[in-house]
Subunit: 107 residues, 2 copies
């Protein structure tokens, strides 16, 4: 297990939704919304409302063609993963007793 | 399963190696080499020799501090995932009989 299967999972997830309508290799707004709600609902908080999806869509759609291609999708996933890692480090640092080994995290 | 577990897997893989020596939150050259060989050896072909690892290290170490932090690692994984997806699409397009449904892949 590990990185290779993480990469394969990201590819599979993208194609699971991109293949539903229109261009099989890009996510339409509808396909992106479905992916966000089903796969990342818990991460995106109020992704239930259109506004959040619209914002993600506009942020992602770097080339403004109304579609999200695989590279744009990976940029989103990368940003979310970095945010998760930061959250994980904050949580770990708070957990340790103050006089314990302090996390060597650069501030 | 899906994107969230892919994200968690990437975080776990990074910390599995970054925690071994020195700064627990960055990969030293030695830790990066171990990660590349053990996790991505099949993807990086001749990663066995130092030269390939040196090249990846230099490409990754965007801020030139001799260490690879989580964001730099995610950029590598993103690039590899896009390359894998491109390979997957090329393979799928070749597979289809010429007169069959042509893949709607923008050239």
């Amino acid at each position: 297990m590990g990185s290779p299967s993480a990469m394969q999972m990201l590819i599979k997830t993208f194609h699971k939704y991109s293949g539903k309508e229109g261009d099989k290799y890009t996510l339409s707004r509808g396909e992106l919304k479905e992916l966000l709600l089903e796969e990342l609902g818990s991460y995106l908080g109020s992704s239930k409302d259109n506004e959040a999806v619209e914002k993600v869509m506009n942020d992602l759609d770097a080339n403004n063609d109304g579609e999200v291609d695989f590279t744009e999708f990976i940029i989103l996933m990368g940003a979310l993963t970095v945010a998760c890692n930061d959250f994980f480090l904050e949580y770990k640092t708070d957990e340790k007793p103050k006089d314990g080994e302090s996390a060597q995290k650069k501030d």
